[in-house]
């Protein structure tokens, strides 16, 4: 029983990370139908910028705030310079643009930072909490709580504010939204910025657990995408549930089956979802009227 619990806790830890990445994906997808594969780099930037500012002498909390602002600026730049000029390009083209941006950001990070692994001190210390014979890090609870908080805030924003309605309008029908006076460019840009900020916050919170380096973004983005597919593209709750479920699948596969195939789980999940349930757990069935 203790073993099962321990695997579950490990699964929750990685799952929380995937959940935050997935929420970032969802936000941008909802606003612009673009799947932003540079999402992983935002997470990397959050962690790495904080660490390097810390080395330069800036206290960690301030460094974290600056890191989030830097990532937000990068997200905005990605939209302004990469996505907006492409205008009416097809979804595939836009996705490839984001993949290119991800490679570019990784290359820049390699040069500005270095190629080694780095860590941050945990918020509440690194002594694990023991529950039922298994242990969980306090930092994991922080990450999980933050994921829930961010989703709640997002939901409140989207559902309860005028700007939130504008986001829904933009994602429902771009042309109609423009016609009623919504500045869709600003809305989509803001979504990119938020998404980058969420990714960066995830990066800062998660680095004490998983360490970070210039190239963690790629695999994170792929697994976050798997989480989004599992949860249903377009649904914020689906993103969180998908992320946590994916983390749990990975941990149980590593524990009960074989640790060598842990990374393969995410890709098996994508295939399974696409074959059996393409709309994911919480997604809406797509109906095309002819």
């Amino acid at each position: 029983m203790a073993e099962f619990l321990q695997f579950a806790f490990s699964g929750l830890t990685v799952g929380a990370i995937y959940a935050l990445v997935a929420v970032g994906f969802t936000l941008i997808y909802n606003a612009s139908e673009v799947i932003n594969f540079a999402q992983g780099e935002f997470v990397m930037l959050g962690g790495m910028v904080t660490i390097f500012l810390g080395y330069a002498g800036i206290p960690v909390p301030l460094a974290a705030v600056i890191a989030v602002l830097v990532a937000t600026a990068v997200g905005l730049a990605l939209y302004r310079l990469g996505i907006a000029p492409a205008r009416e390009a097809s979804a595939v083209t836009l996705i490839i643009i984001t993949i290119g941006a991800s490679i570019f950001l990784r290359g820049v990070a390699e040069i500005i930072f270095d190629k080694r692994f780095h860590s941050l001190p945990a918020l509440f210390g690194s002594d694990p909490i023991r529950i039922g014979g298994a242990s969980i890090l306090p930092q994991t609870m922080v990450v999980l709580a933050s994921a829930l908080l961010i989703v709640c805030l997002l939901w409140a924003f989207i559902d309860r504010t005028l700007y939130g309605k504008a986001v829904i309008a933009t994602s429902a029908n771009r042309m109609a939204a423009t016609l009623v006076g919504i500045n869709t460019r600003t809305i989509v840009g803001a979504c990119f910025a938020f998404s980058a900020a969420i990714g960066a916050i995830a990066g800062v919170l998660v680095t004490p657990i998983t360490l970070t380096s210039y190239n963690v973004g790629t695999l994170l983005a792929l697994k976050g995408f798997a989480a989004v597919m599992l949860g249903g593209i377009g649904s914020a709750i689906g993103a969180v549930v998908g992320g946590v479920l994916l983390g749990l699948f990975e941990a149980f596969a590593a524990g009960y089956f074989s640790a060598s195939y842990k990374d393969a789980v995410a890709f098996v999940v994508i295939l399974a979802v696409l074959f059996v349930m393409p709309q994911g757990l919480f997604g809406k069935r797509m109906v095309e009227r002819v």
Partner: protein, 385 residues
């Protein structure tokens, strides 16, 4: 038009031959290192060491009246990239010797290239299969994984811990050390009751460690790997509250491991070269002046703490240089012969004496048993535990 180009070409040729006066007498030595990627805390100090000592040698006039030109390529820990760079060093750069191959994987990929080209290759990687069976053109400076297993098992026996679990990386060094440990365990009286593996780029080893914790009868855990993996294993180990002693291999012999593993590293034991405890060695130790000298030079020039990996690169370069001095030339065949005749060379890794059947030249006494305490290395006396 043609005249102008010819004159320009002639002037350039003249300029090159004048300034290249020293360049003409430069001897090319190649190095393919993993300065980036998962093995970066091995490859980066190696690179820095080779750069600073080649510069130092050249500033003192070079060897045999010739200056050394060091050509370094970064393979990022990828064996395919390493092999491509090795081929480039042989065919385009035309090196006379090679000191490099940070990891077992990259070394094994490059060996055929240097054997075919008949260029001596001093490897900086750990696995025993690099020099066993003995290959004519391949040597190495770090202690082997088999020696690490033997040293660890010796200490385990002294502490009367005979049932162990083994967790190893799936990279070439991790696999090789796992195989060596399994092979020498019966002779050492150790039983390996449970085994786990992890991928070298994994960031969470709690599932594997949970299974180890749940196995009854385990008295100690041995981790075989290098780079970031063992650091995460160590962090997860303390996070799960596993009580048994944890042993690492010499693949973590760098302060970067301690900074990555933080307070979890306290109490971890590992076999390593005397270099790590240079200042704590008694003056009567033969290695003392060499290791202290290297440590001071490295730490002053780079501002980073010394690591055994840089030490292995230093040993590799110096063995090559001494061989070149004895041979009186840089012809690859003569270099190889003299490298093989290295006798009682006092290096950072130990006292090296090579022979046609031994291309490493170190024995178990070159390895010291260390324990990590408060962020620093402590020597463990080998009579008591």
């Amino acid at each position: 038009m043609m005249q102008k180009t010819t004159i320009a070409a002639a002037l350039i040729g003249l300029a090159v031959s004048v300034t290249g006066g020293s360049a003409l007498a430069q001897v090319k030595v190649g190095a393919v290192l993993s300065a980036s990627g998962p093995a970066s805390f091995l490859g980066d100090p190696e690179r820095k060491t080779l750069d600073m000592y080649v510069e130092d040698i050249n500033s003192k006039g070079g060897i045999n009246g010739q200056k050394l030109q060091l050509i370094v390529y970064d393979d990022g820990g990828d064996a395919n990239a390493a092999r491509t760079f090795a081929t480039r060093l042989v065919e385009e750069d035309k090196i006379v010797a090679m000191v490099g191959g940070t990891t077992t994987g990259t070394t094994l990929a490059m060996i055929p290239v240097f054997e075919d080209a008949q260029i001596p290759f001093i490897s900086l990687a750990g696995a025993v299969q690099i020099i066993e069976p003995v290959r004519k053109w391949v040597f190495k400076t770090p202690h082997t994984d088999r020696m690490a297993c033997e040293k660890i098992f010796d200490d385990l026996k002294r502490r009367k811990l005979t049932t162990v679990a083994l967790i190893s990386g799936t990279d070439a060094f991790g696999k090789s050390m796992r195989d060596q440990c399994v092979a020498v365990a019966p002779k050492a009286g150790i039983t390996i009751a449970h085994e786990e593996t992890y991928g070298p780029a994994d960031s969470d080893m709690t599932p594997q460690l949970t299974k180890i914790k749940a196995t009854p009868g385990i008295q100690a855990v041995v981790c075989a790997g290098f780079g970031q993996g063992p650091a995460i294993v160590t962090r997860n180990y303390r996070q799960l509250g596993v009580e048994y002693p944890l042993y690492q291999s010499h693949g973590v012999a760098s302060k970067q491991f301690i900074s990555l593993a933080a307070s979890a590293a306290n109490g971890v034991r590992l076999p390593a070269a005397a270099l790590l405890v240079a200042s704590k060695l008694p003056d009567s130790e033969r290695q003392k002046s060499v290791v202290v000298g290297y440590q001071n030079t490295f730490e002053t020039k780079t501002g980073q703490p010394v690591s055994t990996f840089g030490g292995h690169a230093y040993d590799g370069l110096m063995i090559l240089v001494e061989a070149a001095k004895r041979a009186g030339s840089f012809e690859s065949g003569k270099l190889r012969d003299e490298i093989e005749k290295t006798k009682a060379y006092v290096g950072t890794g130990g006292v090296v004496t090579m022979s046609p059947s031994d291309h490493l030249g170190l024995d178990l006494s070159a390895f010291r048993l260390l324990e990590i305490k408060d962020g620093d290395w402590m020597m463990i006396p080998e009579s008591a535990s």
